[in-house]
């Protein structure tokens, strides 16, 4: 089963490799990993999407907690969360399909952020379902390149 885990860590040298090394060294999966500073510049927040059975997830959470620079580990499974991913997509945009691209951008509340003679670059954010639906719709038009940030998540409520 897939789990989204937030890890608050000391914002210091080498902490990313400690976390990444833990996953590779123990044979755990990383589907995506997102890291940035929090409001406290001494603390970074990682959002990791991983998968495994209950026993593996329990090990992942415990092993993460065991790392000295890890301050807090939150498994979002079973809690109300908002999760988002940002994607940048370059699609073919010639006279035959420009209108179709624009319509999809409108439907998905995406944005065109760069225009070239035969290519649009689109920015889109959304949850997992929306992102994959958007990419699926664009595929027949011709995707030249996709960049995804990986998922970030936050709990709902105060």
């Amino acid at each position: 089963m897939r789990h989204t885990i937030a890890v608050l860590v000391e914002n210091e040298f080498g902490v990313l490799s400690r976390v990444a090394g833990l996953f590779s060294g123990r044979g755990f999966n990383i589907e995506s990993l997102c890291v940035a500073e929090t409001t406290d510049p001494k603390v970074s927040r990682m959002t990791i999407v991983t998968s495994g059975n209950d026993q593996i997830i329990e090990q992942i959470l415990k092993q993460l907690n065991k790392l000295v620079p890890v301050l807090k580990v939150i498994d979002f499974t079973g809690t109300e969360t908002v999760d988002r991913e940002l994607v940048l997509v370059k699609v073919n945009a010639d006279n035959g399909n420009k209108a179709e691209v624009l319509r999809l951008v409108d439907i998905f509340r995406a944005k065109i952020v760069d225009v070239a003679p035969r290519c649009y670059t689109i920015e889109m954010t959304g949850g997992e379902g929306k992102v994959s639906a958007f990419l699926q719709m664009l595929r027949p038009i011709g995707i030249k390149e996709v960049v995804r940030t990986g998922k970030i998540a936050i709990s709902r409520g105060a």
Binding site: V9, F13, G14, S17, E58, Q59, V68, P69, V70, L71
Partner: protein, 564 residues
């Protein structure tokens, strides 16, 4: 007062009570060696190889319970410590390794004797540091010792660039350590402990499965008291030898691949297992799906990751064993439930005694070649069990575990987790430094001893009177045993026809050498060797065909033992 980083480092060691450092100098740590030269509080022992230095620090730590300290230079000095770090990491031994590093500005430039030791050692240390500024050095040294010795102990590495060691700063060693991401939990949850005792008291066939954690938390007296209050049979892991007195009638001996018939049968038939400071290692459980099929399991460990890692557990308790066992004792001591429990489990103890009677550890010493088991038994007799034994890895290690009885903790020092050949001699030196009054014996094999034989020079230089007994079978015995049993006797690369003359080798190092080739002379030769002054190497030429039994083949359940 302003001091250089190197002076700060040495001063911090002294202030933290470090009396000895095992090390090897080099370019990146020259300033530290200069500061050590002027310091009188911190002794330095010059080893012959950095791997030896870490094993010495490790042996020192295991024998004394204090944190072992090691100091080496950058690059190859640092990479040579990796095996020692991994050894200490697998066995949870508090060791701090300090490495020199090239100057900060050169890091990443492939400078001379540069290695990314923080990167290399990350998966085999509990934590590690790269010191970036001199002002942080004293604090980091303090934290390194704190992390190494608290919670589940383990090795910590501190990498110190040369410019950090030459730059001056104020000396400021913090009194307290505050790490917001590191809070080991020492107190077992009282309600979990109550449930555990309740479950234990329902048992008809209880077994205590005790590991190295008992020794690390100095909880042997508590374990013995709980076991006696409830007459609980106790089996120990290799790492737990001595955690519970081996000569106690409740002791079932070691369990696992080369465990006793009794211990393996008992754990396989148990209905409640109390696991303390053990981690259900594959060498202990055999085929994991068939491990202890009838048992409910109570698992006490200070490291939450050890619990539910390999086997599902019914009652997990995270905490220091000393605390948890004390709480358990309080719940049963003098209670009538305890008396009733002893009564109803007496048949079970009768069963374990019967197993022990029908299937003891055994071997046959005929008139011919010397049996290695006989040698170990003689070492036990001559030392009356009062020696500190270290081992190498392989058959020598298993026989040392099987045929010497360990009644006290910190008397059996062995690389259990990593299985590091070449561990025994340097570990013996470290143990002897910690315990100068004790007789320290390395039970070795002719293969393993050659992996760190250079440390004989260290022993001779500092007159460290370790005794090495080589069970010399002219082969890499344990690997050959597997080839004999599972590879149709094809001894691929396990015969050692070119073995040095160990007696003359000892003499070349300036140590004393002895040899036994007939079984009748073994006791005398051992006695003479142990009585001789200074470091001694005793070469005992043993039967090369002898194998370690019982044996549970890898991947088989514990009840499928190959017996003698």
């Amino acid at each position: 007062m302003q001091m250089t980083g190197a002076e700060i480092f040495v001063r911090a060691l002294a202030d933290l009570g470090v009396d000895i450092v095992f090390g090897y100098p080099g370019g990146a740590v020259l300033n530290i060696y200069d500061a050590l030269f002027k310091n009188t509080k911190v002794r330095h022992l010059l080893c012959r190889h950095e791997q030896g230095a870490v094993h010495m620090a490790d042996g020192y730590a295991r024998a004394s319970g204090k944190t072992g300290v090691c100091l080496v230079t950058s690059g190859p000095g640092a990479t040579n410590t990796v095996t020692g770090l991994a050894t200490a990491y697998m066995d949870s031994i508090p060791v701090v390794v300090f490495t020199g590093q090239v100057p900060t500005l050169l890091i990443g430039n492939d400078a001379f004797q540069e290695a990314d030791i923080v990167g290399i050692s990350r998966p085999c240390t509990k934590h590690n540091y790269l010191v970036k500024e001199t002002k942080d050095l004293a604090r980091i040294v303090r934290e390194a010792f704190y992390i190494a010795s608290t919670g589940r102990p383990g090795p910590v590495l501190v990498d110190m660039p040369k410019d950090v060691l030459t730059t001056p700063a104020e000396y400021d060693l913090p009194k307290e350590v505050s790490l917001r991401g590191y809070h080991p939990n020492y107190e077992g949850h009282p309600r979990q402990v109550e449930s555990a005792v309740r479950m234990l008291l329902t048992a008809e066939r209880p077994v205590v499965y005790a590991g190295g954690g008992v020794i690390l938390s100095n909880a042997s007296p508590e374990l013995a008291e709980l076991a006696r209050q409830l007459s609980l049979p106790v089996t120990t892991t290799l790492m737990g030898m001595g955690a519970f007195p081996g000569s106690d009638p409740l002791c079932l001996g070691m369990l696992g691949m080369h465990g006793t018939y009794t211990a393996n049968m008992a754990i396989s038939h148990a209905d409640v297992i109390l696991a303390v400071g053990a981690r259900f290692d594959d060498r202990v459980t055999g085929k994991i799906d068939e491990f202890a099929p009838h048992a409910r399991i109570i698992h006490v460990d200070i490291d939450p990751t050890s619990i539910q890692k390999n086997v599902p557990v019914d009652i997990p308790i995270v905490g220091d064993l000393k605390d948890v066992l004390r709480k358990m004792i309080r719940l049963v001591k003098g209670k009538k439930e305890a008396a009733a429990f002893r009564e109803k489990t007496s048949a079970w103890r009768g069963q374990t005694a019967a197993w022990a009677k029908t299937h003891p550890l055994t071997y046959k010493q005929g008139k011919g070649k010397i049996k290695p088991q006989y040698v170990v038994e003689q070492i036990y007799r001559i030392t009356k069990g009062n020696a500190i034994i270290t081992t190498e890895v392989g058959q020598n290690q298993m026989w040392a575990a099987q045929f010497y009885t360990y009644d006290r903790p910190r008397t059996f020092l062995s690389s259990g987790g990593l299985g590091t050949m070449g561990y025994g001699l340097p570990a013996a030196i470290g143990a002897q430094v910690a315990m100068p009054e004790r007789l320290v014996i390395d039970i070795a094999g002719d293969g393993s001893i050659q992996m760190n034989i250079q440390e004989m020079a260290t022993a001779v230089q500092y007159r460290i009177p370790v005794k090495v007994v080589i069970l010399n079978n002219g082969a890499l015995g344990m690997v050959r045993q597997w080839q004999e049993l599972f590879f149709q006797g094809k001894y691929s690369q396990t015969c050692l026809p070119q073995i040095p003359d160990f007696v003359r080798l000892a003499e070349a190092y300036g140590a004393k050498g002895f040899r036994a080739t007939r079984h009748a002379e073994v006791p005398d030769v051992l006695r003479k060797g142990f009585a001789a002054e200074g470091p001694v190497l005793i070469d005992v030429v043993v039967d090369p065909g002898e194998m370690v039994y019982p044996m549970v083949p890898a991947g088989a359940p514990l009840t499928k033992m190959l017996l003698v």
